[in-house]
Symmetry: C2
Subunit: 292 residues, 2 copies
Amino acid sequence: MADVVAGDGLDRLSLNVWTTKGWSLPEAVAGCVAAGVPGIGLWRDKVAEVGLDVAARLVRDSGLTVTSLCRGGFFTGDAAHRAAAASDNRRAVYEAAALGAGVLALVAGGLPSGSTDLAGTRAQVAEGVAALAPYAAGHGVRLAIEPLHPMFCADRAVISTLGQALDLAEQADPSGAAVGVCLDSYHVWWDPQLLAQIGRAGPRIFAFQVSDFLVPIPPDALLGRGHLGDGVIDVPALARAVLATGYPGLIEVEIFNQDVWDTPGEQTLRTVIGRHRRYLSAITDAGRPGSC
Amino acid sequence: MADVVAGDGLDRLSLNVWTTKGWSLPEAVAGCVAAGVPGIGLWRDKVAEVGLDVAARLVRDSGLTVTSLCRGGFFTGDAAHRAAAASDNRRAVYEAAALGAGVLALVAGGLPSGSTDLAGTRAQVAEGVAALAPYAAGHGVRLAIEPLHPMFCADRAVISTLGQALDLAEQADPSGAAVGVCLDSYHVWWDPQLLAQIGRAGPRIFAFQVSDFLVPIPPDALLGRGHLGDGVIDVPALARAVLATGYPGLIEVEIFNQDVWDTPGEQTLRTVIGRHRRYLSAITDAGRPGSC
């Protein structure tokens, strides 16, 4: 991290590779290093493009901190699907360990096709997390359950709130060391219990992702994320709350947005850096040892 | 209600006039009477088309139970907007009283343009409800705060959960007689705390609206509602929970969906009736005096 200058405001910035979707993993790593961004969040598809060994060596040699690997989970469905998911999740844990990711983000999975059994589906998630937890712990990988916005409850994640994710994490791992949560501003900003649940979460926040929530929501709601400041979320307030728990990690910028994806990676990363400096550097600097 | 035959399974069915959007108010009233549907949910725009006096006489003469008037609220914004909203809300209360509606549904309002102050905006809603409550009580109209799905938090309603709506209602009216909630399956089905909060709500559930949640969500999320059975919500389970609180009212079908709106009113009402019989009649009949 030779390019990182102390006090440049980027100490706690991480770039999720899907934010610069047009970049390959080597391009994203090089981009972060060149720009002095100390962290990177990985996705398994980008890793697979170059192969696990190459990716692991690449990120290790770069000196970047790997803030998360996205993603495992999808615990819901019939027995065959669940068995396949369990196998794939063990593979994801293995990849996270190899990449030095430390944290594997888990997306719960939605209602199985034709089902209206929300409680039963949530029980499948609890079972899946509990079964994966010892395997992950054995590999030194922490599991971070990610609540998704309720608009994705049916098709993607039946875990919709931070409180619910914490209930699951506590159930699977009373110690708090192995199973926690991935908090993404886009998914949780609306929750009236958010600040109280962040306080409850304490050290169980294993990953912290940010983007803004754009209005109106585009036809594909998955892509309704924007750069900080372009939407309705008070991300600085959220970051202050997360950092107040003692969260020691980086703040990862993960933006799904077709316009952002159509922009050259260099330009997107410049915007990410600019917005981080504008909205978050003062907050993260305030928590730096030696700062006043 | 001469056409209603005891035991026909429709005793607790109400048609919201927006479900048959192509129908005028007189057509909707005539349609309900002819079909033996005992209740109707009104919207102010449909009332305005014929005028308040004509509408009030029409529904009174029909013998239909008016299950709700939609809607007041939109308490959020700058001082001028809030003053205008307060005035319009008093007018809505007056209309509800004239129509014999008994219940006025309140939609909170979203974040003011450019604002990210969710807590401050929610405080505006609390102020607005508290200010309206005595006026409504003086007119014999109960206020029903309607939590909207979190995907509408930014642009339509900063009140997103039943728990949050109950907090507001309790704050504005400790007695429980004047301010309660309007529970709409489409908006609340995903909430992990839903059943617990329904239990908490007890007699504060003043209106109960149902539709199904369609997947995928259409480009305009407002229109993603379907007839019961066409989506992912276990409406019968929800209805059982609501009726278990002693909810004495009707179950109002409110569907926003372009395909449904493009269907002739008679046909839509036949579908509404068919689905009510298939999914809800056994539940509502079980609660009828004299039923086994």
